[in-house]
Amino acid sequence: MELSFIVIDDSELDCFIARKIIEHTDTNLHVQTFQNAQLALETIRKNAVVDNHVTTIVLLDLQMPLMNGFEFVEEFEKLPIEVRKRYVVVVLSSTRNNKDIFRILTYHTVYSRLDKPLTREKLLSLMLEAQLR
């Protein structure tokens, strides 16, 4: 199965790290990074009509200005099921706030949560899980 990535994080460094780790893991993986969640959402909406079999893993930060991770998930869940099923939303954050972590995991489109920083090990096990899903 083919995999691609969308990284949503307001921190430029964190976007860079995620991109590098993904690209160093497999040069064929396609990565898009967004510092603004709204733009990521628009891209997902625009690609709604594309009919392909690529599964996209969305690495989503929680605390972001303008549109935070929660607001992104709220909007994402309004998309039709045919679109949603092509994405696996994984929260990637540095938060230690349990209330936020539990709250984000109550959304059933949120697949799991990873603690920052992203490492190759975390990425590999995530890719494996996404493919077995």
Partner: protein
């Protein structure tokens, strides 16, 4: 207005009211009421009544019942019962329920009343201090919660980024790629540093007394100018300062500098990169003991729906990662200390104007 303690005396006998007022009015501000409706309107019109004396035996209602009725709606005044009768049961009951502070036997001796007022006033002051301290404590708790929340994002965030960068550094061979990463790491560390400095500003603003000195705005801005001149040159933003001060202005330099620094760094930081004639303009006008400071930029502007929130702690209206969410909150705290005001006018893609007015202290 006198600073005399305000006292309300409720009794159905006019002679008692007159006598009470006559003997105490020199030292206290005495209000009297001959019935319950009058007493209620007194309480409504004078929220600063500190002590209420009430006769126990009145037509239709006892003093104990009256105190019980007003206890919830007027919790602040200290309640003292006056009684000629030895209604021991009802008095003990009322004291135990907390409806009255103490009682004075009728006919009263002036010394008893004075000592009762004295004690009641101390009790009142202690209670109001407690209420103020409780509010302050609640505010401190709320802010502590916000801090605890921001720690993982604003401190742990940049650190985990740098840690992640170190992890992948082992696999990067390309020098250009490495340089790009070092640049981003530096940016992340600078952000963390800014956060820590702002946190320090925040604490020094919360504590600490004002140190009032004569302020010369031209001199003050000359001290700040070099930092912003560098920004002005490197980012190609015109920087102009006009000061018009012909009178003495007294204030605290530290919060003043903080206000200028935050507003100026924002003015430079949020410039519209696509635009050609970029500028930041500062005007200070001191007149009639009032300083009016205008800071105008040609920046990206603030969306109308965000303007109400920009002074909140940790609020960021922009997705560029430069902000810590501290700056304007600190500006507002500094203005609160200096008794100043701030107004914002902003047009998207045109620029933002901040107008600050501060009185000389």
């Amino acid at each position: 207005m006198s600073d005399k303690i305000k006292i309300l005396y409720v009794d159905d006998e006019p002679d008692n009211l007159v006598g009470f007022k006559a003997s105490l009015r020199l030292d206290y501000h005495i209000l009297t009421a001959i019935n319950i409706p009058q007493a209620m309107s007194c309480l409504d019109n004078h929220p600063d009544i500190k002590v209420i004396f009430c006769d126990q035996r009145m037509p239709g209602i006892t003093g104990v019942e009256f105190f019980e009725d007003i206890r919830v709606s007027y919790p602040l005044p200290v309640r003292i019962l006056l009684t000629a009768y030895t209604d021991v049961e009802s008095i003990i009951n009322a004291i135990n329920k907390g409806n009255i502070f103490r009682y004075v036997r009728k006919p009263w001796a002036e010394a008893d009343i004075v000592s009762a007022i004295d004690e009641a006033n101390k009790f009142y002051m202690a209670n109001s201090m407690l209420a103020i301290k409780n509010d302050e404590l609640q505010k401190a708790y709320d802010e502590l919660n916000k801090f605890a929340y921001s720690v993982s994002h604003d401190i742990r965030g940049p650190l985990s980024g740098i840690l992640g960068a170190i992890n992948i550094a082992r696999e990067i061979d390309d020098v250009e790629e490495m340089r790009e990463m070092l640049y981003l790491m530096e940016k992340s560390l600078k952000k963390l540093d800014t956060y820590i400095i702002s946190m320090h500003d925040y604490y020094s603003l919360q504590r600490g007394e004002l140190k009032i000195i004569d302020i010369d705005f031209s001199k003050l801005l000359d001290e700040l100018k070099p930092i912003y001149s560098v920004m002005s040159k490197t980012n190609n933003v015109e920087f102009n300062i006009h000061v018009n001060q012909h009178e003495v202005f007294r204030s605290d330099e530290v919060p003043l500098k903080l206000i200028f620094n935050n507003l100026l760094s924002n003015a430079f930081k949020y410039q519209d990169k696509k635009r050609s004639n970029r500028s930041v303009e500062v005007t200070v006008e001191v007149q009639k003991s009032m300083a009016t400071i205008l800071i105008k930029d040609t920046g990206i502007g603030i969306l109308g729906s965000h303007i109400g929130e920009i002074f909140n702690l940790f609020y960021r209206a922009n997705s560029q990662e430069v902000g810590s969410g501290f700056g304007l909150y600190n500006v507002k705290s500094a203005l609160l200390k200096l008794n100043g005001q701030i107004e914002v006018n902003s047009v998207m893609h045109q620029g933002t104007n901040f107008k600050v007015t501060i009185p000389s202290i």
